[in-house]
Amino acid sequence: MRQLPFAYAFRNLGRSKLRLGAALFGSTLVVLLVLAAGGFVRGMQLTLDRQQSLHDNVMILGVGSEEGVERSQIDASVAGIAAASIRGLKQRAGVVYASPEIHAALPLRLDADDPTDRPAVMRGVRPVALLVHPDVEILQGRFPRAGEDEIMLGSLAPTRLGVPETRLALGKTLRFDDRDWTIVGRFAAPNTVMDAEIWIPLTDLQIATNREATLSTVVVTLDDASFTDVDLFAKSRLDLEIAAIRESAYYASIAAFYGPIRVMIVVTAALIALGGVLGGLNTMYAAFAARVREVGMLQALGYTRAAIVASLTEESVFAAACGALLGAAIGLAFLNGLAVRFSMGAFAVTIDAPVLLLGVLGGLLVGLVGAIPPALRCLRLPITQALKAH
């Protein structure tokens, strides 16, 4: 089959600058939307399931609190009992990887005069938390000391609190529980929920929240022990009213909890993209309808219908591909890594290879779907009628 040269399709693009502009704008917009929605969902998903430690860690929570650690309350003695009772937990230099923690959503203020409550997730921890959560890396300063009103902030904490990065530099203070707390450390835990948290010495948070005798959870890291060992321990200590859940399973349930929000975002983006496709189809119908005579001439010159459809599709897909690349470049430059505050945390919009591929394919699809039906339609006329068409 004799094909029309690619240059023919390419040159045709310049025939109407307005139409070319509309095609570029349409596919750029669709790609940006797909990247924004995909990056949002991907960022949220990665935050909830890509922690290095997830697969080795088990959370010991209060019975009935498996859906949300914030409402869990277990006896403060559980940490010691678990470390002593469960054989095969990871150890280093005699320190058992068992981190007693309190997770609480609490309002912070910048200073005593700040009228705005800024909700933040605070995690009361001991230094052993750094062993149990190896994703956490202290980038500046140090771990806060108990009893000295010190805190350490994750790298997305400014987004979570809605304040500029400079306001949360080392040495600055935040107000909570009628006291100023000094920022002595900044840490990063990329793609984890911890990245948006504020870490505070466990005893300080226990005192501040009036729960000296309880914890939210004890996170243990498995070595030779298996999940069943921890589960058996939880089930055998009925007096402690505790349950064991893999950290990965816990965050998977949180991810499932956000499912409706993700569906809503994806459906919205898909609907907008569909609107873009329909607009593109309309324009292409008009554009190709005006070229019926030209198509008739090409057929008279011996080009097959398939070759003409291929050329018209090439034209549309090429314009869409340029728009898709433009959209991908804008998305990578401005959307990737964008910090988003959402529901007790924050995460970064993540445009990685799969999301990028999805976006670019979406853009190409606009060109393809927008071209084929109008191209087939303008080939319906017999050659003689097409040549007579105005």
């Binding site: 859906e67 949300g68 309350q73 009628d178 569909l274 607009g279 309309n282």
Partner: protein
């Protein structure tokens, strides 16, 4: 009058280009579906967070706390609150949520003293299924809000488990208050016993005052009483309380408003695109109309009417679909025990049609004016 007589001509123009009209109408319907959905969310936020003149409810919460799990007030604060001048009732409430985070399918239990609750809310609650007596009699009984019941498919006589609590559905209630529609009311002790050592501990007190003017002074007085207590309080009007905890949702809906404006721009672009294409392909037809004596303004009006017809058809389909999904889906945002409903009011249909009508006129205006000002001879030559 002349324009009305030309209605068949306008409708024929729309039907004549079936594919173009269909694509335009479907595109508009999609954009209006999203616009109406955003409007429904917006209405929910406004309804839940705007103060009304006859509001007389205060929420007493633990100071410096957000999540219901961290607001732990002694139940015996009740009698001290009730002694404050201007307070007519104080209902202790223990709130348990399946998750403190914001999403669309959160189950919220509110433990309340049953008799006080019924006395206080008499006339406001409409039991649509099941029996209130059954709710009063059974310890584990839940009075489930209609939105929650529809969403989870709960019917009287069933049991359900959420947030570590297994409850029996005794009745389904309907209420004008969005907070009632999306919760399960149970007995206070039942929810307290479901938690660890929570007997005598409540999350909040809902306080009724005698007059709306007393809200602020009473709130200040209550907070002053417990200022030095181990569990100090922070008292808000109900709407201010919701606005405070639902900050993230308010922000999300604020962002969605931009999406709504984007949808309107899309409708404008789709209608304008269709009208421009139509006008371009009918240059000679307009010349014939002018030759037959149709004045320029009438031709312009016919073109605008075509845009309005497309916009209204798409708008009607999209807005109606959004309202149907909103109403039958029983969606509500929930965060930290409070609900922001998605108010898919039929009035939104009217708003959607009005907006579409205006956009239809705007989109058709420029091509219509251009077409009406063309010289007849020029039109025939161009064709």
């Amino acid at each position: 009058m002349k324009l009305l007589r030309c209605f068949p001509y306008v409708s024929k123009q729309v039907v004549r280009h079936r594919v173009r009209s269909l694509l335009t109408v479907v595109g508009i319907a999609i954009a209006m579906f999203l616009f109406t959905a955003v409007q429904a969310m917006n209405r929910g936020v406004t309804e839940a967070t705007s103060a009304k003149a006859n509001d007389t409810t205060l929420v007493v919460y633990r100071a410096d706390r957000y999540c219901p799990a961290t607001s732990r007030l002694p139940q015996d604060y009740q009698s001290r609150i009730e002694r404050v001048e201007g307070v007519t009732a104080a209902i202790p409430i223990k709130v348990v949520v399946s998750n403190c985070r914001a999403s669309l399918d959160v189950v919220t239990f509110r433990g309340v003293p049953k008799d006080d609750f019924i006395d206080e809310r008499r006339g406001e609650l409409d039991v649509v299924a099941g029996s209130l007596d059954d709710w009063k009699r059974r310890t584990d009984a839940a009075l489930v809000g209609e939105t929650l019941a529809n969403r989870r498919g709960l019917k009287p006589g069933q049991s359900f488990t959420a947030a570590g609590i297994t409850a029996y559905v005794a009745a389904v209630l309907r209420s004008d208050d969005a907070q009632d529609q999306n919760v399960a009311y149970t007995s206070l002790e039942f929810v307290q016993l479901a938690g660890r050592d929570d007997l005598g501990v409540v999350t909040q007190f809902n306080v009724k005052v005698a007059d709306a003017a007393l809200l602020e002074p009473v709130a200040k007085q209550i907070d002053a009483i417990f200022d030095a207590a181990q569990e100090p309080t922070a008292t808000f009007t109900e709407q201010a309380f919701i606005g405070r905890v639902a900050d993230d949702i308010v922000e999300l809906v604020g962002f969605a408003r931009w999406l709504g404006l984007g949808c309107l721009a899309a409708v404008l672009a789709l209608v304008a695109n269709s009208i421009v294409l139509g006008v371009q392909s009918r240059v000679s037809e307009h010349a014939v109309l002018q030759t037959l004596g149709y004045p320029g303004p009438l031709i312009a009006a016919l073109i605008v009417a075509e845009g309005v017809a497309l916009a209204l058809t798409g708008g009607l389909l999209g807005a109606a679909a959004a309202i149907a999904v909103g109403r039958y889906g029983s969606f509500a945002f929930s965060v930290e025990g409070t609900s922001i409903p998605i108010v898919a009011d039929p009035a939104l249909l009217l708003t959607g049609l009005l907006v579409c009508g205006v956009i239809g006129v705007l989109a058709g205006l420029v091509p219509a004016l251009q077409a009406s000002r063309r010289e007849i001879a020029e039109c025939f030559r161009a064709a």
